[in-house]
C-alpha cells in the first residue's frame, strides 16, 4: 500500500446543501498534498472528515489501507494543525507537546526525551518552559506542528495554518514548512485558499470548487495546463478575453475577440466554428513590442495605469472595447518610457493562451 490516504467517492451533505460532492483522491506516502479552493468550497469539510470530526454521508476514507468509518478522532492515526492553532493556553509549551503522549501512557522520561527532540527539530530548543502567550506568531505555529508531529501520525493535516500570520512571516514560513516536511518525511495534507502557498509547497495540488475537485496535478500542470476555466482563473492571474471561434485546425483554434482581433490559441476542449469562447491569457505571457517574431499573436492596447510592484509590476491596459488586460512589465530600463495614455503593441505565443467555451 503506497498511499497513506485514499478517498473514494466521498460525499457530505448538510441538510440540503452538498458540501463535498463525490470526491476521489489518493495521497502517496511522504508527499505534500494540498487542497486549494475559495472559502466555502468544502475543503475544510474534507479535512474534518479525515480527522474524524464529521461523518461522511457516503464514501470511503482509508488511512494506510484501514477503513476509518466509525473510528473516533482520538483513535485515528492522523493529527490536525488547526487554523488558529488551538494551543492550550493553560499549559506551557512542554505540556502542550506532551499532551498527546500522556494520553498514550508514554512514560515520563520518554516524554521528556521526545518533547526535547521535536522542539529541536522545529527549531525551538529550550522553549519547553515558555508560556504560550510569550511566543511570537511563527513560534506558536511551530509548537502547533510539533505537538502533532511528536505523535508520529501517518498523515498530518493542516488547515490554513499560515492564515493568521502577517505577510512577510507567511512568505518565510511557506519555505520553512516545505523544508520541515522534507526532513521529517511525514505525509502532509494542507488546505488553503492561497494559490501561492499551494504551488510553492506541494507535490500535488487538488483545486476544489463548490464541493468538487476540478483538477488534481502538480503545481506546474495546474498552472500550465488548466483543465477548466475555474482552475485557469484561480491558479495564478489570468486575463479573460471573450470572443468567437472562427476556425479549428491542427489542434489550434482561431478566435476573433470582441474587439475584432484574430488570435490563434490552443484549447483543451474540442471547439467548433461559431462557439463562444473565453481566451485565458496570463499577464506574463504577453510581451511588449514583440517585434517581427515568427507566429506571434499581436494586438494593440492603450495603457491606463502602470501598476509598479517591484519584480511583480504590471501595466493595466484597455482594449478598444474597454476590456482591461494586465500585462507584466519586465524589470529592465527598456520600458521606462511607458506611461498612461500611450498605445502599445503586445504579442504572445499561441501556446500561451487557452480557450474555454463560455457559458453565455
Amino acid at each position: 500500500m503506497d498511499n497513506d490516504l485514499s478517498i473514494r467517492d466521498l460525499v457530505k451533505r448538510f441538510g440540503g446543501f452538498t458540501a463535498v460532492d463525490h470526491v476521489d483522491f489518493d495521497v502517496p506516502k511522504g508527499s505534500f498534498f494540498s487542497i486549494l479552493g475559495p472559502s466555502g468550497c468544502g475543503k475544510t469539510t474534507i479535512l474534518r472528515m479525515v480527522a474524524g470530526f464529521e461523518e461522511p454521508t457516503s464514501g470511503i476514507i482509508e488511512i494506510r489501507g484501514k477503513n476509518m468509518l466509525g473510528v473516533a478522532p482520538n483513535q485515528r492515526p492522523v493529527n490536525l494543525v488547526f487554523q488558529h492553532l488551538a494551543l492550550f493556553p493553560m499549559m506551557n509549551v512542554r505540556e502542550n507537546i506532551a499532551f498527546g503522549l500522556k494520553r498514550r501512557k508514554v512514560t515520563g522520561a520518554e516524554i521528556q526525551t521526545r518533547v526535547d527532540r521535536i522542539l529541536e527539530r522545529v527549531g525551538l530548543p529550550g522553549f519547553g518552559d515558555k508560556k504560550i502567550h510569550q511566543l511570537s506568531g511563527g513560534q506558536k505555529q511551530r509548537v502547533a506542528i510539533a505537538r502533532c508531529l511528536v505523535l508520529e501520525p501517518s498523515v498530518l493535516l493542516l488547515d490554513e495554518p499560515l492564515g493568521a500570520l502577517d505577510l512577510k512571516l507567511r512568505e518565510r514560513m511557506k519555505v520553512e514548512l516545505k523544508k520541515l516536511q522534507n526532513q521529517v518525511g511525514t505525509t502532509f495534507i494542507y488546505i488553503t485558499h492561497d494559490q501561492s502557498e499551494a504551488l510553492v509547497m506541494s507535490d500535488q495540488v487538488a483545486v476544489m470548487n463548490k464541493g468538487r475537485f476540478e483538477q488534481i496535478g502538480t503545481p506546474q500542470e495546474l498552472y500550465g495546463q488548466p483543465n477548466t476555466p475555474f482552475v485557469a482563473g484561480f491558479v495564478g492571474d489570468n486575463n479573460v478575453w471573450p470572443g468567437t471561434v472562427n476556425e479549428v485546425r491542427d489542434g489550434e483554434a482561431v478566435m476573433r475577440t470582441q474587439d475584432g482581433v484574430v488570435f490563434r490559441a490552443r484549447s483543451r476542449e474540442t471547439l467548433a466554428p461559431g462557439d463562444r469562447v473565453n481566451l485565458f491569457l496570463r499577464p506574463e505571457a504577453i510581451l511588449i513590442d514583440p517585434g517581427e517574431a515568427m507566429g506571434y499573436n499581436s494586438f494593440e492596447v492603450a495603457i491606463r495605469a502602470v501598476l509598479f510592484d517591484g519584480a511583480n509590476s504590471r501595466l493595466l491596459t484597455v482594449t478598444p472595447t474597454d476590456l482591461e488586460i494586465l500585462v507584466t512589465l519586465p524589470q529592465n530600463q527598456l520600458f521606462a518610457h511607458l506611461e498612461p495614455g500611450r498605445t502599445i503593441t503586445a504579442g504572445w505565443r499561441p501556446e500561451a493562451g487557452i480557450l474555454f467555451r463560455s457559458d453565455g
Binding site: F53, P73, R103
Partner: protein, 283 residues
C-alpha cells in the same frame, strides 16, 4: 483626558453612593454590636453580643447548619447548571438559545414569594403531589413534604440557577471549540477533555458563580423560613428574630457582622483551595 474627567464627574457620585450605602451601615452595625443593651441607660462598650454567639450552641450550630446547607446548594446548583450552560453556549441553535435563556429568567418573572407559596400548595399534606402519589398507590397515607430540608434546598437551588448559569455561559462561550477538538484529536477521551481543558478554562466563571450562589443562599430569608424544617433555623432567621421578636438590635447587629465575617472566611478558604484570586474571578 477631558473625557476621563467627565467620566469621573459622572461616575464618582454613583460609585460613592454604592460604597457608602454598604460601608456606612456596616460601621454603624459594628458600633452597635459592641454596645450592651440597656435602652435609656448609658450605652457602654461590651463584647457580650459576640460572646453569646460562641457560648450558646443554638446560635453557632444554626450558623454551621446554614453554611453547610448553603454549600450543598452551591454544589448541586453547579452540577445542574454546568450542562445547561454548556448546552446553551455551545450546542443550542440561536433560536433555541433565546428560549432557554427566557426559561432561566422565569424565576424572576414570578415573585419569589408567590413561587414559594405555589410550592407550598403543591407539597402540603392535602396537596396535589400527595393526592397523586396515593392515587397511584405509591403512598398509603399523605406525607408532609413541606418543612423538610430537602424541599428547602430544592427551593434554594431553583432560585440560584440563573446566577450560576449566566457566568458559566459566558466562560463556556469564550472557550474556543478548537481546543476541545484539538484535545480529542491528540487522543484525549471525554473525561480528560473535561478535567484538563474545559474545567480549567471555566474556573473563573465557576468561582464567581459559586460565590454569588453561596452568598445568596446564606443570606436568603424567605425560602428557608417558609419551606425549611420546623425544628431548625436559618441564620438570617436568628438575625430577624433578634431585631423584630427580641427587639435586641445590638445582638442582631453582632450576628449580622458575624455572618459577614464568617462567610467571607469560608469564601476566602474556598478560593485558596481552588488556587484562584478574587481579581481573576471578576475579570
Amino acid at each position: 483626558m477631558r473625557a476621563k474627567a467627565a467620566f469621573w464627574i459622572f461616575l464618582a457620585p454613583v460609585l460613592a453612593w454604592l460604597l457608602l450605602l454598604i460601608v456606612l451601615p456596616h460601621i454603624d452595625l459594628l458600633v452597635m454590636s459592641f454596645r450592651s443593651r440597656n435602652p435609656g441607660g448609658d450605652p457602654g462598650w461590651t463584647l457580650v453580643n459576640y460572646q453569646r454567639f460562641f457560648i450558646e450552641p443554638i446560635y453557632w450550630r444554626t450558623f454551621v447548619r446554614t453554611a453547610i446547607y448553603s454549600t450543598i446548594t452551591t454544589v448541586i446548583t453547579f452540577f445542574l447548571a454546568m450542562p445547561v450552560a454548556f448546552y446553551i453556549a455551545k450546542a443550542a441553535a440561536v433560536r433555541l438559545r433565546g428560549f432557554l435563556l427566557i426559561l432561566l429568567l422565569l424565576p424572576f418573572w414570578v415573585s419569589e414569594l408567590v413561587r414559594v407559596y405555589g410550592w407550598m400548595i403543591l407539597l402540603r399534606e392535602s396537596g396535589v403531589v400527595n393526592y397523586f402519589l396515593i392515587r397511584f398507590g405509591l403512598l398509603t397515607q399523605p406525607v408532609e413534604m413541606l418543612y423538610r430540608d430537602a424541599t428547602m434546598i430544592m427551593g434554594l437551588v431553583y432560585s440560584s440557577m440563573l446566577f450560576m448559569v449566566v457566568p458559566l455561559v459566558s466562560v463556556v462561550e469564550s472557550l474556543d471549540d478548537a481546543l476541545i477538538e484539538a484535545a480529542y484529536d491528540l487522543g484525549a477521551g471525554k473525561w480528560t477533555i473535561w478535567w484538563r481543558i474545559i474545567i480549567p478554562h471555566c474556573k473563573p466563571g465557576i468561582t464567581s458563580g459559586s460565590i454569588v450562589v453561596f452568598m445568596l443562599s446564606l443570606g436568603n430569608y424567605m425560602t428557608p423560613n417558609l419551606l425549611g424544617g420546623k425544628n431548625s433555623l436559618w441564620f438570617t432567621e436568628q438575625i430577624y428574630n433578634q431585631f423584630i421578636a427580641s427587639f435586641n438590635w445590638n445582638q442582631g447587629a453582632a450576628f449580622g457582622f458575624l455572618l459577614l465575617l464568617l462567610s467571607s472566611a469560608i469564601i476566602w478558604a474556598g478560593l485558596r483551595l481552588s488556587g484562584q484570586k478574587l481579581g481573576q474571578v471578576a475579570s
